[in-house]
């Protein structure tokens, strides 16, 4: 087990390093000189050269890369080419909003998907199962931003029960925080919930056919109790995989939804960075998003070991 986790940690570190190179290289090959952009079209070559020296972009790429990377672990993300502000605190600030949004969205997705998917599996031969499957199909087909606009139209415009956007920090006013986060989280969560419910359904269907469920019933357990006691953990193994992938999707999906609901999250920071050609800010934000996705994958891998004892021993017999 320790060996397995050690291997996962190594994978996480190596892929983070590779991601850093990739992100940096991608930004480096993009046409456009930050110094020239900052000074505008009428700048003299001398001024541009001075600006380059100030940004440090006149150094060789390898030196620039090392300078950038070595700052990341300590939270030193550099200074914005546009505003000159430190980027680290900005990202930390925005990351909080996005994390709340994603966690809230994931919570909604799970709460919707698990009972819905399980019910659709247990009743897969009945009309109820068919209706549940159909509903999730509709959910899968709706993109999150469209769901967001629909929700705003219903709850904020027509019924006027929830705000259409904005953000209040949790510490300032928990009620306002919740109200403002509810619609964006719903538009992310409902769509992801629909997708997730299909995976939950097929995982539960697989478990239903397992011999050990029949054993549990032969012991005197009702079907639902057998499914809960013996099926849930087994069904969780494939579902956790999808959950991890979905968390990553949610992080990226948050970029769009934050725009719809004017939430000051990482997504809107990224879009602002792109609009202002603040290349270092974009580079940093993308890096943070990539590391977040890798961290999620690492957590999923670690969770497998908790769920499945077969992964704990790596002896030849245990490996089957």
């Amino acid at each position: 087990m320790a060996l397995y986790l050690l291997r996962r940690v190594a994978v996480f570190i190596v892929s983070t390093a590779v991601a850093a190179v990739a992100v940096f290289a991608f930004m480096a090959v993009l046409p456009g000189d930050p110094a020239a952009i900052a000074l505008g079209v009428n700048a003299t070559p001398e001024a541009v050269a001075a600006k380059r020296a100030e940004f440090g972009t006149d150094r060789p790429l390898a030196v620039q890369f090392l300078a950038w990377v070595s700052g990341l672990p300590t939270g030193d993300f550099g200074l914005s080419y546009v505003s000159g502000d430190r980027i680290g605190p900005q990202i930390a600030d925005r990351l909080g909003v996005t994390l709340w949004l994603v966690l809230f969205g994931m919570l909604i997705a799970t709460v919707v998907a698990v009972p819905l998917g399980a019910a659709a599996a247990v009743r897969h031969r009945s009309v109820t199962g068919l209706i549940l499957s159909g509903l999730s199909q509709v959910g899968v087909a709706i993109p999150a931003f469209l769901a967001g606009i629909l929700l705003v139209f219903l709850f904020a415009v027509t019924w006027q029960v929830l705000p259409s956007g904005g953000y209040t920090p949790l510490a300032e006013d928990p009620v306002a925080w919740f109200q403002q986060l509810l619609l964006p989280a719903l538009s992310l969560g409902l769509v992801q919930g629909a997708v997730l419910s299909r995976y939950v359904r097929s995982a539960v269907l697989d478990v239903l056919r397992e011999d050990f469920i029949r054993t549990a019933r032969a012991k005197g357990m009702g079907l639902y109790r057998a499914l809960w006691r013996h099926g849930s953990r087994n069904a969780a193994i494939p579902v956790v995989t999808v959950l991890g992938l979905q968390l990553a999707t949610l992080l990226v999906g948050a970029v769009v939804v934050e725009r719809v609901f004017t939430l000051p999250g990482l997504g809107s920071l990224l879009l602002d960075g792109v609009a202002n050609r603040d290349l270092l800010l974009v580079q940093d934000t993308v890096m943070v998003l990539v590391v977040a996705v890798l961290a999620i994958n690492f957590l999923v891998d670690a969770l497998y070991v908790v769920l499945d004892p077969r992964l704990r021993d790596l002896s030849p017999r245990g490996a089957r």
């Binding site: 011999d211 054993t215 019933r217 005197g220």
Partner: protein, 325 residues
């Protein structure tokens, strides 16, 4: 067939259908306390379905009708609702399945899986006591280091060891009837004999009756006192194991015995077989189900043959083998 008095299990006119397809017809038999009865036949003869119907564990879309009464249980097992059946399963009747590799929950410790069946039926007052009883049971089924085994996960045990765990689960509540569905088929030959010995010994200790399903005649001969031969969803012959195996009356039983005799060969020097294959569910001929594979079949066999003899010893055939008829 009449119903034996004082029997543990009495099955009467059991039939099982998958929609419009008949799978088991007119099966009646009784098992006395502590009696060991074998149910034999080729794959597809309806043996396993008969057993599953007694526990109410038939696959979806498959229905049983008729009657199956278990001593000490007020209602009929056939058609009983889930609540009633779950009180009986694991307590009065339990079952060991064919495939030990998949029958246990892979993410739960073996000891917990054994203890569970006692906690479920409240035969042990607490988790700690149930776990202690589980370790005892694992010892009784002769698993090495029962304490350590109780803490193991199924993947850390071999197939034979897992089947012993299944037996421990099945016997935990001293059931009146133990059903074993090909419990040794998936095991190595060397492990089979020990497993069979264990089943006989532990059921005898508890005076549990045994319904033993297999297609292996040698296994029936070692384990059982009485045998029911099934073909095409019907019982075609029954009786004392020795009698049925030495003087079979139904041509199907005769064919089975000839096919399992490894010293006898046909005129071309090959081992004997029963010609043809077992038809799929619902594709058996009407009248006598065996008539399309039977060497003795005549026009009379279009009619379903009645039962000849007593419920304990008899057969269903127009042209029985031997017996001077």
């Amino acid at each position: 067939m009449s119903v034996l008095t004082g029997s543990v299990l009495t099955v009467d006119a059991l039939r099982i259908d998958a929609g419009a397809i008949p799978l088991v017809r007119d099966v009646s038999f009784a098992i006395g306390p502590g009696e060991r009865v074998g149910l034999i036949g080729e794959s597809g003869s309806g043996k396993s379905l008969t057993a599953l119907s007694l526990l109410g564990l038939l696959p979806e879309g498959v229905r049983a009708s008729g009657s199956a009464r278990l001593d000490g249980v007020p209602g009929d097992l056939v058609g009983a609702d889930e609540r009633e059946l779950s009180k009986v399963r694991g307590k009065r009747v339990s079952m060991v399945f064919q495939e030990p590799m998949t029958a246990l929950n892979p993410v739960m410790r073996v000891g917990d899986q054994v203890a569970e069946v006692m906690l479920l039926h409240r035969t042990q007052p607490s988790r700690a006591r149930a776990l202690a009883a589980a370790v005892d049971l694992l010892d009784r089924v002769r698993l090495p280091e029962p304490k350590a085994t109780a803490r193991a996960y199924p993947h850390q045990l071999s197939g034979g060891q897992r089947q012993r765990v299944m037996l421990a689960i099945a016997l935990a509540n001293d059931p009146a009837l133990l059903i074993c569905d090909e419990p040794t088929t998936a095991l190595d030959v060397t492990v089979q004999a020990q497993m069979l010995e264990l089943i006989v010994e532990l059921t005898a200790e508890r005076d549990s009756a045994l319904l033993f399903i297999t297609h292996d005649l040698a296994v029936v001969a070692t384990v059982c006192e009485r045998v029911l031969v099934m073909y095409g969803g019907r019982v075609v012959e029954s009786g004392d194991v020795y009698e049925v195996f030495t003087a079979p009356r139904h041509p199907y039983t005769d064919g089975l015995l000839a096919a399992s005799d490894l010293s006898a060969v046909d005129e071309r020097g090959r081992l004997r077989t029963i010609p043809g294959v077992v038809p799929g569910g619902g594709e058996f001929p009407d009248g006598c189900v065996f008539r399309n594979r039977c060497p003795r079949a005549t026009d009379q066999c279009v009619q379903t043959p009645g039962w000849t003899g007593t419920p304990e010893r008899g057969f269903a055939c127009w042209h029985p083998v031997g017996g001077g008829q």
